[in-house]
């Protein structure tokens, strides 16, 4: 290189570095809304100094996070990065792709444990190796491995499903265990809700996932006599051509949930209220978790519409954050929340340790639903059939299920879970933790 081109080389490099560095100091980005909506967390605020945090290395990590959360043009860079990544390989002409999303939040950029070779390896710490099994984190939130895979078909994105028979068995055992604990007077039901990936047209693509039918049959087959399996699978399957799943989110729609409700009615022996009895409200413009994970432009251009069916029965809905003091909330919200809970949170406001709906039905039937978020869209349909519905989310609930059932005079217990329970054993373990020790 001659001196002139060397001068240009240095000048361009330093200009780029300086430009972003200065811009970032004088005009840091405010990405709060996007971080809340797509990443479901709060933007890192300026960390308060504390000697403890400094010693644990937490303080500098928070400064790191602050810097990256506030980085200028952050969302533009993210968008651009996603586009750049789509040039990694050949694009399918039918708009089909597999997107692997890696959980960077668990990678330590500093590589504190990864000394030996290169900082970012992380290999040299036996615990951080790729073969370390995936445990639940302290809060018991998820955690299944470092990456998840989404199948994108044009403007639809869905999580692939991995069947784990041991998890299915643990889940069935937990239900049976509850049945033993509450005795024969309480009726126990289990409903497994399949996810969208189960009903893809193309056999070839369907084979990318395990069979949720097999998983459901396996769980139901293991339930004790007296515990009834609810055949949501068949009801959804016969309506699979309708808008029963969101295209940009991993949940089902309220319409899908209605077919689930029909299955419940069949199992419990009551007549479902016809769909046309409901007044509906459409909330357009929802981009859900599958969009957040894949950031595909095809999805962004075609957001989902959340349709809500307004409850016809007088009711009161209270959320118990601490299991003692209830806070009143709307059962079905009228707008897509903008605080990062996502569009699916219009149903019941999201997931809480415990919440309770009371109605004026006065038929003596009291239902407890032990659930994950798949149950939320069903609850509004169940109001006409129970005088009380108590919702328990084993991921957050602390206490004894059997005591709770006794105290509230619960007559029916219904488990409602999405496909995660037959993928990941952690949920079954969380239910077990709320039951009296076996033996």
């Amino acid at each position: 290189m001659n001196a002139r081109s060397q001068w240009w080389n240095v000048a361009i490099f330093l200009t780029l570095i300086a430009a972003l560095a200065v811009l970032n100091l004088v005009k840091p980005g405010s990405n709060g809304k996007e971080i809340a909506e797509l990443e479901k967390r709060e933007m890192q605020t300026w960390p308060a100094f504390s000697l403890d945090k400094l010693k644990q290395g937490q303080l500098f990590k928070e400064y790191d996070n602050y810097f990256s959360d506030h980085f200028v043009f952050r969302s533009g860079f993210i968008e651009l990065g996603m586009t750049a990544k789509s040039y990694k390989g050949m694009q399918d002409k039918d708009g089909i792709s597999l997107v692997t999303t890696v959980d960077h939040s668990k990678e330590d950029l500093g590589g504190e444990d990864g000394d030996g070779a290169v900082p970012a390896f992380g290999q040299t710490d036996p615990g951080a190796g790729p073969d370390a099994s995936a445990p639940a984190d302290d809060a018991g939130e998820l955690v299944n491995g470092e990456s998840s895979q989404y199948l994108v078909i044009k403007d639809k994105a869905m999580l692939l499903y991995q069947y784990s028979p041991e998890s299915a068995e643990a889940y069935a055992a937990a239900i049976n265990h509850l049945h033993d604990a509450v005795g024969p007077d309480v009726r126990v039901y289990s409903m497994l809700v399949p996810s969208q990936v189960e009903f893809i047209e193309s056999e070839k693509l369907r084979k990318l996932s395990g069979s949720q039918k097999e998983a459901t049959e396996h769980v139901y087959g293991l339930l004790q006599p007296g515990v009834k399996g609810v055949s949501a699978y068949e009801h959804i399957e016969s309506h699979k051509g309708e808008y029963v799943y969101f295209r940009t989110d991993h949940h089902w729609t309220a319409l899908g949930a209605y077919y689930g409700y029909e299955a419940i009615a069949e199992a419990m022996g009551f007549d479902p209220v016809a769909l046309d009895q409901y007044e509906t409200k459409d909330l357009p413009g929802y981009l859900g978790t599958a969009y957040a994970a894949t950031r595909k432009p095809e999805l962004r251009k075609n957001p989902d519409t959340v349709t809500t069916y307004l409850p016809t029965v007088k009711h009161e809905y209270k959320v118990y954050y601490d299991q003692k003091h209830g806070v009143k909330k709307p059962l079905v919200e009228g707008k897509i929340p903008v605080d990062g809970r996502g569009g699916y949170a219009v149903f019941l406001g999201g997931d809480f340790a415990m919440s309770r709906v009371t109605t004026k039905v006065d038929n003596g039937k009291r239902l407890m639903i032990i659930k994950d978020s798949y149950a939320n869209a069903i609850v509004p349909f169940l109001l006409p059939h129970f005088e009380e519905i108590e919702l328990v989310d084993p991921r957050y609930f602390k206490g004894s299920l059997a005591d709770e059932i006794k105290e509230r005079g619960i007559t029916d217990v219904l488990f409602v879970n999405g496909p995660v329970v037959t993928t990941y054993k952690g949920i079954a373990n969380m239910v077990e933790a709320l039951l009296p020790a076996e033996g």
């Binding site: 780029l16 570095i17 967390r41 500093g110 290999q123 190796g129 073969d131 994950d372």
Partner: protein
């Protein structure tokens, strides 16, 4: 802190440049580098930065004493004691847990394994201190009066946490007297940007795919597993060599030349040659400070070979798979010396290339899995002892959707680009073109790396499965 982070690129680095070039005096500049280096280290290890300082001080004081009492019994005692202290420090932080685990398994002691955090870069800076004290002991260098040189040698941030492992003699003269030229700085920019691209664009993207193809969540097809292992080989090469490139580039920008660490290892034709091209500074350390003092290949060859490769493996991590990985290379190098090399010399070059590629990939399988059972299972699939379908939908998708990345990465691991650039520079017209394209190329790589780095802070993850 690491170089491939936006905090480094757009805060630490520009700040250091401003402060550094605001003063002219070399001594002051040295202290600026030291202070920033400690800050760089403290960012990841706010507590262990004192260990770094303590270890450097120990090396400094011991060397002063050794220098003064060279050739006497006193000098030797201090030398041996301080070497033991440094190695003991490394052993305590890195190997205590591993040792106790093994003793438990062997003797059934049932002692609880303490969880000792590993300070970043301890494997690198302890080795540098050992180098330095040995060189002083042998009389290769005189111990300097001022601790400044010791601090700068050990903690100079570009090589501090991931090498290259430098020798005091490498940079001794540059500490007193160095000249920063336009061409040196420009070369530093080239090296830094290329290293950044290797790490962020190639290593990170390729690495994301690996767990989907091998290990408990992958391993569903024969070709998929081979593809996964190839991707891992690329990841580890670009990760490590990219880091070394960035270190060398930064060194140039501040006027300090660090030694080279990689020289296209995957074009080697034997395990011996591979190790003369891979992590050269580590191989050099073990050669000069372990192998040759033990007697090299003149005396006790097999023992020396075994010791060096056992230690090389162990250095990479406190786990049996690394030891197996090291000894595996020791065995290959021994076999090459006894007969393989002579055999390959008579066969077409292609054979020895294929041999090394295959041997290297098998090696990386050992390196990747700390769980030996999984390493074995992966090897069984690769060599058809355990049957898997040739290819599955999933592995096919992974291949197709990352095909271009894979091809670019594979080409980038060979000297083809370098050869092309050198050829073009030789021509007058093409030379001018390349000269002016280089700044543009660097700008694009920097922009793309920044984009991907910011993108990697995006984590749409928690709560997803529900």
């Amino acid at each position: 802190m690491v170089f491939s982070s936006i905090l480094f690129l757009y805060f630490f680095f520009p700040l250091l440049l401003i402060v550094y070039f605001a003063v002219k005096n070399t001594k002051v500049r040295n202290w600026i580098l030291i202070v920033f280096s400690f800050a760089f280290y403290a960012w990841g290890e706010p507590v262990w930065v004192f260990l770094l300082i303590l270890a450097s001080l120990l090396g400094y004081l011991a060397s002063l004493y050794i220098d003064k009492h060279r050739g006497t019994r006193k000098g030797k005692v201090v030398f041996v004691t301080s070497i033991c202290l440094i190695i003991g420090m490394l052993a305590y932080f890195k190997y205590t847990g591993f040792l106790i685990d093994n003793l438990n398994d062997l003797l059934g002691l049932g002692v609880t394994t303490p969880s000792i955090a590993l300070p970043i870069g301890i494997s690198f800076f302890t080795f540098e201190i050992i180098c330095y004290m040995s060189d002083v002991y042998k009389g290769v260098v005189r111990a300097p009066r001022s601790p400044m040189k010791m601090f700068l040698y050990v903690s100079f941030f570009p090589h501090l946490i991931a090498g290259p492992i430098i020798r005091f003699t490498d940079i001794e003269a540059q500490m007193d007297n160095r000249k920063i030229t336009l061409s040196g700085f420009s070369y530093g920019v080239n090296r830094f940007v290329i290293g950044l691209g290797k790490k962020v664009i190639l290593a990170n993207s390729v690495g994301e795919l690996v767990p989907n193809l091998i290990g408990p969540d992958g391993s569903d097809s024969f070709l998929g597993v081979w593809f996964g292992v190839c991707l891992y080989a690329l990841q580890i090469y670009f990760d490590f060599s990219g880091y070394s490139d960035m270190a060398i580039g930064l060194g140039y920008m501040f006027g300090i030349t660090l030694r080279e660490n990689f020289n296209y290892p995957y074009i080697a034709r034997s395990a011996g040659e591979f190790w003369r091209r891979w992590n050269i500074s580590l191989g050099g350390f073990f050669r000069d400070y372990v192998y040759i003092p033990l007697g090299g290949n003149r005396k006790w060859y097999l023992r020396n070979l075994a010791v060096v490769w056992f230690l090389t493996g162990l250095w990479h991590g406190a786990s049996w798979n690394f030891i197996i990985w090291g000894l595996y290379f020791g065995v290959l190098i021994g076999l090459e010396r006894y007969f393989l090399q002579r055999l390959f010399d008579r066969l077409p070059k292609l054979v020895s290339h294929l041999y090394l590629l295959c041997a290297m990939l098998v090696g990386w399988v050992w390196f990747y899995f700390t769980d030996l059972e999984q390493a074995l299972s992966t090897l069984r699939i690769m060599f058809l002892v355990e049957w898997r379908p040739l290819v599955t939908m999933q592995s096919f998708y992974f291949f197709r959707e990352n095909m271009y990345l894979f091809i670019v990465a594979a080409i980038a691991s060979t000297p083809l680009m370098k050869w092309l650039v050198e050829r073009s520079m030789a021509g007058r017209k093409t030379g001018a073109w390349v000269s002016y394209l280089a700044p543009v190329y660097n700008a694009i790589i920097l922009a793309l790396s920044t984009t991907l780095l910011v993108g990697s802070t995006y984590n749409p993850f928690l709560y997803f499965r529900f």
